[in-house]
Each structure stands twice: as C-alpha cells, then as structure tokens.
C-alpha cells in the first residue's frame, strides 16, 4: 500500500501532538517541584548542613584548639552525659519552664483584657490605644532593652521616682537588679510589654468574629458578662487563643536578647541562667562547642515537642486553601 504524503504528515503530527501533550503533563506535574526547588536547596545547604554539624559536634570534643585545627575528637555520648549530670542544666530547665509559664500566663491574660477593653472604649480612644500598641509593637528589642534599663537604673530611674511619688513604697535608689528574682522579674515585664500589642490586637481581631446578636440575646436573657465571656466569646476565639499561646510558649522558652542585655553580662551567673543563656555561656563563651552542641540538641528537642500543636494547626491551614 502506498502511503499518500498527506496521511503520512497527518500521522506524524498526531504523534508529535501526543508527545507534546505528555510532555505538557509532565511539566504540569513537575512545575510545583521546580518552583520550590530553589528554596529547598538553599535551606538544605544553609540549614541542613549546619544541623548535620550540630549532631556531629555534640559527639565530639571540640574546643578552640579543634576549631583552629578543623577537626574534633569523637567521644561518643560524653557531652550528653556531662550535660545531663550537670545540676545547673536541670535547675536552668526548671527556671526556664517556670519563667515561660508565668510570662505566657500573664501575656495572654492581660492581652485578653486589653482586647476586651478595645471593644468597650469609644472610637477615638480605640484609635488612640491601638496606635499606641502599634508603636510599642514596632520597637526593636535592643532599643527596648536600653530604654528599660534607663528607666529602672538605680541612681535616677524614672520608675523609682514615680513609684515613690505614688506612695507605692520608698524606691529611692532602689536597685532593681540586685536579686535573681527581681532581675528575672524586670526581664519578664520587658518581654510582656513587648508581646502585649501583638496578642491584644490579634485577639481584638478575633473578637470581631463573635456575633453581636448572640451576645445581645444572652444579655437580654440576663446572662452576666462573665458567663457571656466564658460560654460565647471564649469558644469562638479558642483557635486564635491556642495559636497565640503556643507561639508565645515557643518564643519565651528560647528568649535570649532581653535577659542577656538587661541583666548585663557581668551579672549573669549560673543562678539566673535561662536556657538560651546557659547554652550561650557554656558553649560559645567558654568555647566548649561540643558540649554546647549537646545542649543545643536537647533544647531543640524540647522546642520541637512544644511546637507540635502549632505546626499541626498551620499544616491544616496551609492545606485548606
């Protein structure tokens, strides 16, 4: 059978069209992977590689000498053993847990109160208060620390003056950084002050989702404000509360800048360590990188457990869209 040129051409184009279509489908399937490839590769290199090193370092003796030599000596799990037998580690962990619990508790409670206040005040006051909160929100942490330190310095801190004037007590030349308790107290106040705007404004946005007619109906039925809050408001904003709380726990557990700069290096000692500071002092400052790596691994493991709730929720949000 003799093939006419036209059918041959037709068959050819059909085949190429089929090929093109399958190539199109392949491209279609590969596109998302091509799009995420740069980010994944960069993260693998700049984070994956250091994390591999973290694991390796934690099983080595690695100090300044080894840093210069670029080679550590493997010592198995000795670093972990040393850290887990260190009383300071356990005390620091306990202190950090209590510190985190207190700060998160206070931040969420005051933040909720502020959000409810934002609902209650009149429009001009709401504008004033929310602009103030946004201004505080935007303060860089290092700046906030310096201002806090100036406000509470024992010679002529304005906080001492105001408290004395208000007859709260005699705080003339009172040293706020004399005891561990008051040092950590000052750090807590600074952290709460910095965290409140984010929490309050986010919760305020959440409160907007609470249907007004539902609240009104409850009030008409004679429900007290507290009951309205517990039975109507709270269940609706629970998801936001949960996310904010888990975020705050993760952040406050690993906080470094505020305690490190406010307590000042000279006054930092084993008795007022928080987890990040302990890690910084034992690992970096003393150039005991191997042991520091072991502490880091333990700390990362703790934070990973704390993050489960948050990450799961975010994955659900990410997959919804």
């Amino acid at each position: 059978m003799q093939e006419t040129p036209s059918t041959a051409i037709a068959a050819g184009t059909q085949a190429s069209r089929r090929r093109r279509r399958s190539r199109g489908r392949f491209l279609q399937a590969a596109t998302p992977y091509l799009l995420i490839a740069p980010v994944v590769i960069v993260i693998a290199v700049i984070l994956g590689y250091p994390l591999y090193w973290l694991g390796k370092l934690s099983t080595e003796r690695y100090g300044l000498f080894e840093l210069i030599q670029h080679a550590g000596t493997s010592i198995g799990l000795d670093n972990y053993r040393s850290v887990l037998h260190d009383e300071i580690f356990w005390r620091t962990l306990l202190r950090t847990v209590i510190f985190t619990a207190v700060i998160v508790g206070l931040t969420m409670t005051i933040g909720m109160a502020l959000a409810l206040l934002l609902v209650r005040v009149s429009r001009p006051v709401r504008l004033l208060l929310s602009s103030g909160l946004i201004l505080v929100w935007s303060m860089p942490v290092v700046v906030a620390v310096q201002v806090w330190y100036w406000m509470t310095n024992f010679q002529n801190g304005v906080v001492n003056h105001v408290l004395t004037q208000l007859h709260v007590g005699d705080y003339f030349q009172h040293d706020w950084y004399a005891t561990t308790f008051s040092q950590l107290g000052m750090v807590s106040l600074l952290i709460i002050w910095g965290a409140l705007p984010f929490v309050a404004i986010t919760l305020y946005a959440g409160l907007a989702q609470v249907p007004a007619d539902l609240v009104e109906a409850a009030e008409v039925d004679g429900a007290r404000p507290w009951r309205v809050f517990v039975d109507i408001t709270l269940p609706i904003i629970k998801p936001i509360l949960l996310i904010l709380t888990s975020l705050s726990i993760i952040w406050d557990f690993g906080v470094f800048t505020q305690p490190y700069l406010l307590i000042q290096q000279s006054k930092i000692h084993a008795g007022n360590y928080l987890m990040s500071i302990y890690l910084f002092e034992e690992g970096y400052f003393k150039s005991d990188f191997g042991r520091g790596a072991a502490i880091s691994v333990l700390m990362l493991a703790i934070v990973a457990i704390l993050s489960i709730v948050y990450v799961r929720r975010m994955v659900r949000i990410g997959n919804e869209a």
Partner: protein, 280 residues
C-alpha cells in the same frame, strides 16, 4: 440616675481606663524621645523633667559622631538589602507552588517552612559559628546574610502565600484561555497584583533583619563589621560614666526606620497572624 446616663457614665469609665493603659504602654517610648532631647542637667537630676523646655540636639550629634556609627549603619543596610532581595525572589516562586498547586510533597514542605521558623535562634549559634568558621565566613557580612536567610526565607514563603491566596485564580485561568503562556500570565497578571504583597513582605523581612541581635553579636566580632543593633548594645560598655542622653538619642535613631516602615505596612497584616513573626 436614668438608664442612659448610667450607660454614658460606664462608657466614660471605660474610656478613662483606655487612656490610662495607653499612657502606661507608650510611656517607655515617650521617655526615650524625651530624654534624647534633654540637656544633661535635666537628665541627671533626681526629679525628672517630663518634657524639656530647653530641647537640644547635642545628644543626636554626639551619637552619630561616635566611632563606627555610620560604618555599622552601612553594614546593617548591606546585610538587610542582600537578605531581603534574595529571599523575596526565591520565596515568591515557592509561594506560587503552595498557593496554586497540589503536589505530593506539599505537606512536607509546609512542615519545613513552619518548623524552621520555630527553631530557637540560640540553638543554632554553635553549629552556624563552627561551620562558618570552617569557610572563613565569621566576621564577614556574607556569613551573616546566609544565616539570616535561614529564617527570613521560610517566613517570606508563608507570608507571600497568604497574599497569593487573596488573588482569584479565575483571572489567570481566563488569561490562559485567551492564549497567554504561563510566563505571560505570571508577568502580566500575577506580578502587578502582587505588588503590595511583595512590598509588605519585604518590609517585614527588612524589620526582622534590621532588629536581629544574637547572630550578629556572635558572628561579627570586629567593631567595623558590626550591625547597628550590636553597636547600640555596646554603647554603654565603653565608659564608666553613663551618657544616657546619647544612648537614648542612639536608640531613637535605631528605631526610627523600623517604626516608619512598620506603620506603613502593619495595616495590611496587623490582623493576620503572620505579623507575629516580627516579634523579637
């Protein structure tokens, strides 16, 4: 008392509480600015002056003439710009994948993006320091840029994804039907619509990077190589006599760019949880 006047009294009560809370919250910021403009005798006085009647710019002059101020501002700008530009470009591509495609590794990728942002920075000091030392990148701005990208990159991916979801898919599909290529759709439709989102994300990335302290403190030892936050943190360490006026002027100067940028973009995301990533 009639019902109406009672509810008005209650409203006034709430408003007074609101104003008091405003004063307490904003006071530290006010005190920083107020101190920065005060003459020295009013600063060291035991009875504080709330607002100086003789404002002076001497402290600002003093602060910017301190050694390394301009050098360190320049360093901060270089690091911030490099980090933000590279991160935004790479993150935008990944954000398109998350917002527009379903693929098998999607959940895994989301876990990666969210999980990394949760890592405590202190936990990464040691490996980053040791690895960068191996490549002679300690005391180098490139090392810091690389370090910052570890957390700016995932943050940008997540935030840009949020903005992309706000753009209806129909627009792109209509353009595809009309015969546009994928690239054409991207350039002609997606990019212009994403303008505000790209700006907002860049600004937030700018703020996080500008404010960063711990990595800059650990990775840059040379005074001429430091960033402005580290410069500010060492401000007190040099002399026994504390120059509060200059310190507050320096603090004000460090905060100004951040505050301005933040006020511009916060409206876009104040009510989205993503904004939380900016908290120090």
């Amino acid at each position: 008392m009639s019902r109406r006047s009672r509810s008005r009294a209650r409203q006034t009560g709430w408003d007074i509480v609101g104003v008091i809370v405003f004063i307490v919250m904003v006071f530290p910021v006010f005190w920083m600015i107020s101190t920065a403009f005060k003459p020295d005798d009013e600063i060291v006085s035991l009875t504080p002056t709330w607002v100086s009647l003789h404002p002076t710019l001497a402290h600002f002059r003093d602060a910017i003439n301190r050694p390394y101020f301009w050098q360190d501002v320049r360093n901060s700008l270089i690091v911030v710009l490099a980090t933000v530009v590279i991160s935004i470009i790479l993150a935008f591509l990944a954000a398109v994948a998350l917002a527009r495609y379903r693929f098998r590794a999607r959940t895994l990728f989301i876990v990666l993006v969210i999980g990394i942002q949760m890592l405590p920075q202190a936990g990464l000091i040691i490996p980053l320091y040791v690895v960068l030392a191996r490549f002679h990148q300690v005391n180098a701005l490139t090392g810091l840029v690389v370090t910052y990208m570890t957390f700016v990159l995932p943050f940008c991916v997540w935030m840009l994804r949020g903005f992309l979801l706000g753009i209806p898919k129909d627009l792109e599909e209509a353009a595809m039907v009309d015969g546009s290529t994928r690239l054409g759709v991207f350039v002609k439709i997606l990019l212009p619509l994403m303008g505000p989102g790209l700006v907002a994300t860049s600004v937030f990335a700018f703020i996080t990077t500008w404010n960063e302290y711990i990595f800059a403190r650990v990775l840059l030892n040379d005074q001429s190589k430091q960033t402005v936050t580290v410069w500010l943190s060492y401000f007190l360490g040099t002399s026994r006599h504390t120059d509060w006026g200059a310190l507050m002027a320096a603090s004000t100067l460090t905060a100004i760019p951040v505050v301005i940028f933040f006020l511009i973009v916060q409206r876009r995301i104040a009510f989205g949880l993503t904004a939380g990533a900016v908290r120090g």
